[in-house]
């Protein structure tokens, strides 16, 4: 290098790799934009339609109150029950997926279950459950339970893998059996995380329960979808406002609860 010249260090193995990657990214993005084939005329029409849609949506119509409440109650019930079930099933699966506690084949199975649960969007899982057990909140509850295995168990497994081995060693040294070690050395370390994750998971389920109704799996999603289909945008807006309110409330509750668990 010439005297006086200096290059900032590069995170890539060789400086040109960085340039190539950036160019590739730019090309990828350009291709994406081009593929979209945005029709300016359509967009213009769309912008004018916004006015119409907003006109029909305001003011929000809360008249069909009972329908609204029914949907909300169903969503709450789905979210709560699936969280409870998800935790009961999720804890053993998380233990199975913790490399430091179980033998290899068990670990692989545990991780496999988690990965499978995470892959498919809850809508797709909902479709399958609706086919299996019929329309309604039961299918929705099962969907959310399966979905939570991918989230709750994954994070819990990570926590279990990160526990302080010294504490486990000490309890083992007293002659405690597997159960004693679990109860006195492992559980106290993971219990706060379990509670925190449960509350967080309930929060997520609440949000998910608002949409799976679109494919018939119960909750306020069905009500919402129907209102859109009937062009009852003012009712739609009412429902949306309620959804936002509930989810925000759920978040507030969850934040408070998590703070209490120190």
């Amino acid at each position: 290098m010439r005297a006086g010249a200096w290059r900032p260090p590069s995170p890539f193995p060789a400086p040109w790799v960085g340039t190539v990657l950036w160019l590739a990214l730019a090309a990828f993005l350009a291709w994406n934009v081009w593929s979209l084939q945005v029709d300016p005329a359509r967009v213009a029409r769309g912008l004018s339609r916004i006015g119409i849609v907003f006109g029909r949506a305001f003011p929000p119509e809360f008249g069909q109150w009972s329908l609204l409440v029914e949907g909300v109650v169903e969503s709450l019930q789905m979210a709560t029950l699936s969280t409870a079930l998800g935790v009961v099933l999720g804890i053993p699966i998380a233990v199975m997926a913790a490399r430091n506690i179980v033998p290899s084949p068990v670990y692989v199975t545990g991780r496999g279950i988690i990965t499978l649960a995470r892959t498919f969007h809850e809508i797709i899982v909902a479709i399958i459950f609706v086919k299996a057990v019929g329309f309604g909140p039961f299918a929705g509850m099962l969907t959310l339970t399966v979905n939570s295995l991918g989230f709750f168990s994954k994070l819990l497994a990570e926590q279990v893998e990160n526990i302080d081995r010294g504490q486990v060693e000490a309890v083992r040294a007293t002659g405690a059996g597997r159960g004693g070690v679990l109860l006195f050395a492992v559980v106290p370390q993971v219990l706060p995380r379990i509670i925190g994750l449960t509350v967080y998971q309930w929060d997520i389920h609440l949000r998910q329960s608002t949409i799976i109704g679109i494919v018939g799996a119960g909750g306020i999603g069905t009500t919402l979808y129907n209102s859109f289909a009937r062009y009852d945008f003012d009712f739609s807006l009412a429902i949306l406002l309620v959804i936002v309110a509930i989810v925000l409330l759920g978040e507030a509750v969850s934040a408070v609860a998590r703070k209490h668990i120190d």
């Binding site: 995170p11 990828f28 993005l29 994406n32 934009v33 593929s35 979209l36 945005v38 359509r42 967009v43 029409r45 769309g46 339609r49 916004i50 849609v53 109650v73 169903e74 709450l76 019930q77 789905m78 709560t80 029950l81 409870a84 892959t119 498919f120 969007h121 809508i123 797709i124 479709i127 399958i128 086919k131 299996a132 057990v133 019929g134 309604g136 909140p137 039961f138 509850m141 949000r207 998910q208 608002t210 949409i211 679109i214 494919v215 919402l224 979808y225 859109f228 945008f233 949306l240 959804i243 936002v244 989810v247 925000l248 978040e251």
Partner: protein, 274 residues
């Protein structure tokens, strides 16, 4: 009572019971647990379980899987275009969201916002974006801009703003004030402080969050088509409505593949970056 060996000179009184919680605490804990049980029972009551359906479900599921597999491999050719659309929607939605999230994040971060009003504004935008699921946004946008990928991309963009800006804001709030102070002390202007003091600290967070959300959006964009917002979800919905289960099987396999690839990519990049 057991002996403790010779030489113990204790005169203290000894107890034979010990409780971790006071009676009041125990009562509270019990009440809490009771409330939980009641909540779960109430939830279960609302499930409307039809036992005949459940009894039938293993047969139903087995039937379903038999029809889905082996998948209709021949249909793959027709999936290329929708798949491309799906990736487009996810990518563009993420990019738009990231660009828009930057100002929102700065507004919603306690240490970079201008005043309480702007802080509240930032927080509200974040919350609203996050409370409404992308599928609902997609419903809304298909009505506003018509069905197709544009609706999908917009839906993902709006939804992602909440997610991305929240993580950005957390990253901004966690920066080391000392580094910012040092750069400011050199006499640098606001922009320079941003570039040299703040941005380098957020950069790892930034890259990680972007690819994380892109990965999530790939998954989200696979279903947006069900409400008409483009992507492979549209083909999936049609196949389901038309009861073409072997095609459904194929689509699910393809989705699995795409999600697996995007996750691997995301994990690699995030490991490199942090």
């Amino acid at each position: 009572m057991g002996e403790l060996g010779q030489g113990s000179r204790l005169m203290a009184e000894t107890f034979t019971t010990w409780r971790r919680f006071t009676p009041a605490q125990s009562a509270l804990r019990f009440a809490g647990r009771l409330a939980l049980v009641v909540a779960v029972a109430w939830s279960a009551a609302g499930m409307g379980i039809r036992w005949e359906f459940i009894a039938d479900s293993p047969a139903q599921v087995a039937d379903l899987f038999r029809r889905m597999f082996p998948p209709d491999w021949g249909f793959t050719g027709e999936l290329v275009s929708p798949l491309v659309q799906t990736i487009n929607i996810a990518t563009l939605g993420t990019v738009a969201a990231v660009l828009l999230s930057v100002p929102v994040a700065f507004l919603a971060a306690r240490n970079t916002t201008f005043n309480r009003g702007t802080y509240a504004l930032g927080r509200v935008m974040m919350s609203v974006s996050r409370s409404v699921d992308s599928l609902i946004w997609a419903l809304i946008f298909t009505i506003v801009v018509g069905p197709g990928s544009l609706a999908g991309a917009l839906a993902l963009a709006v939804r992602s703003i909440g997610f991305v800006s929240k993580l950005f804001a957390e990253g901004i709030e966690e920066i080391d004030r000392g580094q910012v102070e040092a750069v400011t002390a050199t006499g640098a202007g606001r922009l320079a402080v941003l570039v040299f003091g703040i941005v380098p600290q957020i950069r790892p967070v930034f890259a990680g969050v972007c690819i994380y959300r892109w990965d999530i959006n790939i998954r989200e964009s696979t279903v947006l088509g069900i409400v008409g917002a483009g992507g492979i979800g549209f083909v999936l919905n049609n196949a389901i409505l038309g009861l073409e289960w072997s095609r459904v099987g194929l689509i699910l396999v393809v989705i699995l593949g795409v999600v697996a690839v995007s996750e691997a990519l995301s994990a690699t990049v995030r490991k490199r970056v942090t």
